[in-house]
């Protein structure tokens, strides 16, 4: 145990001597927490729309007005040539083209029905489908307005209609960053703590210092603990910095108990550091470790429910992502921060992550022994 103290002393000394270290610890999380939530914003604005108006009537102009005043759309062009609008889509200047046909107003009044065409540029699928959704909403709203003004209301409603009044629990305004920021914080902790731990051990291999350590009476477990403990500390610091930033910048204060969050953080760090250790036993150089980590971080970020809802994945993919500790942590963060869940609500999460951590660490330690 005495040796462990000197190992820790050495680790921390090296850590603070590394010039980029404090930057990675404080500045990187700050920048990511400021930038990423903006990128992960699903409220899409500035959709470029081209309106092809063959009608030039009062109604068609009212419709255009209504669309543009919604705030989601930017007028790319207002024309009466189809070909011009199509060119805008081809050159990526327009995301949507709304086509108002000739005699739009007259047909509406005489035939009580009219069709409009919407062409969507689906290169950016998210923007296209969300933009289309907005536009259809506005048009159907416009339709209701028209009916209200033109159709005499009947004494009794001839068709029963169901009106839905949504109420969003826990996040009433569906503010995107309230649920994105805590999840991005998880991805950050994984990156800073898990990755650095793997690189740190591989670095000793690469430089050859591990040889020198191996011929000393330092025991394997002392060496491993000496590597893991500093990163438990680093993980805690990054997490705290992240919580502070999300409080200062976004006003997010966890509804639930902060102690529960930290408890889960350390169970999570146990698992993710085990993963880092495992990667380090399989790689000889930092480059190798880096490419393995890059692959896994991609998969973690895409499959853990960070950007896309977990439940929309096919069954096998859900099973796979249940093997990633990061999926549990993102879930727990959202539960505790937004919903105020307590220890009892996340007990299954804790158990799962602990088991995963146990498997990873055991695997890593066994493999570490074998290779030396």
């Amino acid at each position: 145990m005495r040796a462990l103290r000197f190992l820790l002393q050495k680790e921390f000394r090296q850590m603070f001597r590394d010039k980029g270290f404090t930057g990675r610890l404080f500045i990187a999380p700050a920048i990511q927490l400021i930038l990423l939530p903006m990128a992960a914003n699903y409220t899409i604005k500035n959709i470029n729309i081209a309106i092809v108006d063959h009608d030039h009537s009062v109604t068609s102009q009212k419709l255009s007005q209504k669309i543009l005043s919604s705030g989601y759309f930017k007028l790319a062009d207002y024309t009466d040539f189809d070909s011009r609008a199509n060119k805008l889509i081809e050159s990526d200047k327009a995301d949507l083209v709304l086509e108002i046909p000739n005699k739009f107003e007259r047909n509406l009044i005489t035939d009580n029905t009219q069709k409009t065409g919407i062409e969507v540029n689906a290169i950016n699928g998210v923007k296209a489908s969300i933009g289309f959704g907005y536009l259809s909403g506005i048009i159907s709203d416009f339709n209701n307005d028209l009916r209200a003004t033109w159709v005499q209301p009947e004494r009794t409603n001839p068709l029963p209609t169901i009106s839905v009044e949504p109420s969003f629990w826990y996040n009433p305004l569906l503010t995107y960053y309230i649920f994105m920021v805590p999840a991005i914080l998880v991805s950050l902790v994984t990156g800073v703590a898990g990755l650095s731990a793997a690189f740190n051990i591989v670095k000793e291999k690469e430089i050859g210092t591990i040889e020198q350590i191996n011929v000393t009476p330092i025991k394997k477990y002392e060496f491993i603990l000496g590597k893991l403990i500093p990163f438990l500390a680093v993980g805690g610091v990054v997490f705290t910095v992240g919580l502070l930033i999300s409080w200062i910048l976004y006003g997010i204060l966890p509804l639930g108990n902060i102690a529960v969050l930290y408890l889960f953080l350390y169970v999570f760090l146990f698992a993710i550091l085990g993963f880092g250790l495992l990667i380090s036993t399989y790689s000889e150089t930092q480059q190798q470790a880096n490419s393995i980590m890059f692959l896994f971080m991609m998969v973690f970020n895409m499959m853990s429910g960070l950007y896309t809802p977990f439940d929309s994945m096919p069954g096998w993919a859900q099973f796979v992502s249940h093997l990633f500790p990061i999926s549990y942590f993102i879930d727990v963060m959202r539960m505790v921060v937004i919903k105020g869940s307590g220890l009892h609500d996340i007990r299954i999460h804790i158990l799962c992550v602990f088991l995963i951590g146990l498997v990873l660490n055991t695997w890593a330690v066994l493999n570490y022994r074998k290779t030396s």
Binding site: A3, R13, G208, N214, V215, T216, P217
Partner: protein, 311 residues
């Protein structure tokens, strides 16, 4: 009792496809400097890594300080100092921090064994606040030696300690080894510089994982069976071709500005043969073989034996 004994040790890599160390046996007495001499890839580092308990032998047994390298590996780690061929200290720690770190993991301090490293440490002490990565090559070697010595090991393993070090530093380094030997430390050192071989008490010539001979440098040289001559003439290339074609030649190779040749006939006959061939300014002198000559001779034997085996 011998400080190191190695009995029929064999080690293979890559699932037994690469034979690194082939049935090697030797022993090193207490307080002896034993040199493993051989070219790169001869298996020297593998022997070091097995004796320092970093690798397990496939077969055979070995002891260090009377302790078995497989069973008592933990105890061995407390009594040996190891300096790997590659500089492997913490480059981002200072000279002093490196030394303190290795002292503390061995449960000792710089002060406790200062007299052992004093001669070496005074040379790097002016740079004690410099990071190890910023030291010159010779300084790095000195620091590495200090770190390997700081816990007063019984046996010191130095794997190619002077590779890439200038001539003056190399000489200083060997002077230090002599002083350590005087303090009773057993030293196993490997090198590919043949001139360093004469500085050892005994040397083992090693090639392709096989030990070719073990003897003191003098005995190794005395064991050279043929007469050896250094030959020089105006056209050294034609001289080499002609001498190799000469029927009395056993072995002929370039050695600096001379050709070294071992022959069955005598000097006068060679001179006559060369004069007949039209060589000018012929210079022939009898010389004492060096360790390198012995090594080249053994190398040639090995080749011949192998090619006979192939036939």
């Amino acid at each position: 009792m011998d400080a190191i004994t190695v009995n029929n040790v064999t080690k293979t890599y890559n699932k037994k496809t690469v034979l690194a160390v082939d049935n090697i046996s030797f022993s090193v007495g207490k307080g002896e400097i034993f040199g493993l001499i051989g070219p790169d890839g001869a298996g020297k580092s593998t022997i070091f890594r097995m004796l320092t308990t970093l690798l397990l032998p496939d077969s055979g047994t070995a002891t260090v300080g009377g302790l078995d390298i497989v069973k008592d590996f933990k105890a061995i780690r407390g009594i040996v100092g190891y300096m790997p061929g590659r500089f492997s200290l913490y480059q981002d720690l200072t000279v002093e921090e490196n030394l303190t770190f290795f002292a503390t993991v061995f449960n000792t301090s710089i002060e406790e064994n200062y007299d052992l490293i004093k001669d070496i440490y005074v040379q790097i002490e002016p740079f004690k606040d410099r990071r190890a990565g910023k030291l010159s090559g010779g300084m790095k070697q000195k620091l590495a030696l200090c770190c390997a010595l700081i816990h007063k090991p019984e046996v010191l393993f130095l794997d190619e300690p002077t590779t890439g070090v200038d001539v003056v530093s190399r000489k200083e380094f060997w002077d230090m080894l002599k002083r350590l030997k005087a303090q009773g430390i057993t030293i196993l050192v490997s090198t590919s510089y043949m001139d360093e071989a004469t500085l050892c008490d005994r040397i083992g010539l090693i090639l392709n994982g096989k030990m070719l001979s073990i003897a003191s440098p003098e005995d190794t040289i005395n064991a050279y069976p043929e007469k050896l001559y250094a030959v020089k003439a105006n056209s050294i290339y034609h001289l080499l071709l002609d001498l190799r074609a000469y029927e009395g030649t056993i072995n002929c190779y370039t050695f600096g500005e001379y050709l070294h040749i071992s022959i069955t006939s005598n000097e006068a006959e060679v001179r006559k043969y060369l004069e007949d061939k039209g060589h000018e300014n012929i210079e022939i002198k009898a010389i004492t073989p060096t360790v390198e000559d012995c090594f080249i001779r053994l190398l040639k034997h090995q080749d011949e034996r192998n090619s006979n085996k192939d036939k």
